[in-house]
Symmetry: C2
Subunit: 124 residues, 2 copies
């Protein structure tokens, strides 16, 4: 698990952890069914309190990205079980980002590049 945490950032540490796990899942650096480091191990690696990791894992669990098993620890959710969840809040967040991008002159072409980078070439 390679996580780059900025302790100077205004973004809370547990949020940074949560975001980077989602990014890793999208780029398939973390695969469904795969185990994450234990709370204590990741806390040690990053140099933060175990409860901060616990908070990040629980956030991801509540959002449906992780399954937490007392025997094995945290595990990436199966792909099928993640789909068809509520996405309205994502659309709203997207509208805000796109509004800023439009106002700052980001072109449609640049947007397409980012979409291609995340989504790949599939045609749905």
């Amino acid at each position: 698990m390679l996580l780059k945490i900025s302790f100077e950032s205004p973004t809370p540490i547990y949020q940074q952890i949560r975001d980077q796990i989602i990014l890793a899942m999208a780029k398939e650096a973390l695969l469904p069914g795969e185990n994450l480091p234990t709370v204590r191990q990741l806390a040690k690696d990053i140099g933060v309190n175990p409860m901060t990791i616990n908070k990040a894992y629980n956030l991801l669990k509540d959002e449906g990205y992780l399954v937490i098993d007392r025997r094995q620890g945290a595990r990436i959710q199966d792909a099928g079980l993640l789909k068809n969840e509520k996405t309205e809040y994502l659309i709203e967040a997207l509208e805000l980002i796109l509004s800023e991008a439009k106002l700052k002159g980001v072109t449609k072409e640049e947007l397409s590049k980012v979409i291609l980078r995340i989504y790949g070439k599939r045609r749905d």
Copy 2:
């Protein structure tokens, strides 16, 4: 100025104000050169402290969206002066949102709809 503020939201009020002004700018409900309500007026309308409005306006000023003039109050920045600003942080935020969208099964077609809604039909 129609602003819908949620006092129960975990998003700070000044952030909500900032976000909605950007959304209004993107949909051209607020036009370059247009004046915003005064700090005191908007505070009265929404029912918050004037310093909360001040914080939102200053955030927008620092981001380049507003010009604050002691004579006339806050004014929407000219379109030309907003372009060519740094947009790396927007791309990063976009990557995160798109990662979540991908994992939750949002299709490319749905993304296109949102882009069309914000950007319109221009072809850049």
